[in-house]
């Protein structure tokens, strides 16, 4: 019997569990490689060629090339591993987070200054017809 996952109804949230870690293993390990400066240089000079060195799915490679972080997460990426990609791009954690919300960086930054996204209506999928 499959493990019960009570966290699957949290709106707009993917919990990085062991099943996701299995799906995303090579994607995340590719990200780890970007912690070394020579690898960052090789990746930047030819992203596709560098990605082809890793046994990742084509969908995972395309998500990286598109810098589509929501898609990378749905394909097993974890945000702390994916951070190596946007750090290599010179993009901040806040810019990367904003890109996943459908907001502009400016809108997102202002939301944070205003106290962040409210938990109201964001606990359980569909509780107010909101996201997720």
């Amino acid at each position: 019997m499959a493990q019960k996952k009570p966290y699957q109804d949290i709106p707009g949230t993917t919990i990085f569990d062991t099943d996701m870690a299995h799906i995303g293993y090579h994607l995340n390990q590719f990200c780890m490689s970007l912690m070394q400066a020579p690898n960052r240089e090789r990746f930047k000079s030819d992203e596709r060629a560098y990605l082809n060195e890793w046994p990742m799915s084509e969908a995972q490679k395309l998500a990286v090339l598109d810098r589509d972080y929501n898609r990378m997460i749905s394909l097993g990426g974890n945000i702390y591993f994916l951070a190596k990609i946007f750090s290599s791009d010179g993009i901040s954690f806040q810019q990367a987070a904003a890109s996943m919300t459908g907001m502009t960086q400016e809108e997102y930054a202002q939301m944070m200054i205003n106290g962040g996204r409210s938990p109201e209506g964001n606990h359980v999928t569909g509780e107010d017809g909101g996201n997720g």
Binding site: Y25, K84, H123
Partner: protein, 279 residues
């Protein structure tokens, strides 16, 4: 004998480290946050701990997906600041206390807590940002540091209860170490935040302030909070707060709260910080 005298809790947001490293602490965005640490910087200069047991999490830095230890103790003589993708932070090398670390490992493993022993490890912002917040920018860190890394990246992390009990075991270990040492335990990470997906940016002031209060006055009850409550209410990364329970478990049941600070935001995150003294 060695003695645990105090505990510190603090968030360890990487952008805070960047603000310190780039000289931005007086900027309007950051000044209110750093003001919240002024008391603590003076306090720790008076306290002069010999050793800090620093509970933090590695953010896919020392531990890739090849191996993910639930609890790992750094037993090396030194730990280098890691290159997390933008070059290492310009902060001093962290000096360990191999003898006390080895003693803690032996003691808590005999006490049923099976720590992973780490003899070589780079440390990321999770460990170095709290040091910067409390000590500023010294030439060398003014105390020795024993890293205690907790997995909060790959779900499930250890339960808050397990963390709380580990803290108690760490205390028993420290108090049986035959050297006159002033030891502090720091719990880092949190507070509410979510860094991923359409719900990114979640902040829950009510949850956070309730947590700060219960951490001081009803930690035993707080330690029983299930994971689902952390991730649902405090965000997928808010579950880092289980690490604070190790710090709290290492202190007396009754503590004196010398300082409390709460601030939103630092980048994507709610910042919480407390100074708790034994006795």
């Amino acid at each position: 004998m060695a003695k645990i005298t105090a505990g510190v809790s603090t968030s360890h947001v990487p952008a805070i480290g960047a603000a310190i490293d780039q000289g931005k602490t007086a900027e309007p965005y950051w000044a209110p946050l750093f003001a919240g640490y002024e008391f603590s910087k003076k306090w720790i200069a008076e306290q002069k701990p010999d050793v800090v047991i620093l509970v933090y999490n590695d953010h896919a830095t020392a531990f890739s997906l090849d191996m993910v230890p639930t609890f790992a103790i750094g037993c090396a003589g030194e730990f280098k600041p890691a290159d997390e993708g933008w070059g290492p932070r310009p902060v001093p090398v962290v000096k360990g206390h191999p003898e006390l670390a080895a003693h803690i490992a032996q003691s808590v493993i005999h006490d049923d807590f099976d720590l992973t022993i780490v003899n070589k490890m780079d440390v990321d912002h999770g460990l170095t940002v709290p040091l910067s917040l409390l000590f500023g920018q010294p030439e060398g860190w003014p105390c020795l540091v024993i890293p205690l890394a907790v997995n909060v990246v790959l779900y499930p992390p250890p339960s808050g209860r397990r963390c709380y009990e580990l803290g108690k075991a760490v205390r028993r270990a420290v108090e049986s170490f035959d050297a006159d040492l002033n030891v502090q335990v720091w719990g880092t990470g949190g507070m509410s935040h979510q860094l991923q997906g359409p719900r990114a940016g979640l902040i829950n002031r009510e949850f956070d302030n309730d947590f700060l209060e219960r951490l001081v006055n009803s930690p035993d009850e707080l330690s029983r909070m299930p994971h689902i409550e952390y991730v649902r209410k405090a965000g997928s990364e808010g579950i880092e707060l289980v690490m604070w329970m190790i710090m709290r478990g290492a202190l007396n049941e009754q503590v004196t709260e010398r300082h409390r600070f709460y601030h939103v935001p630092a980048s994507n995150t709610a910042v919480g910080h407390q100074v708790l003294e034994n006795g």
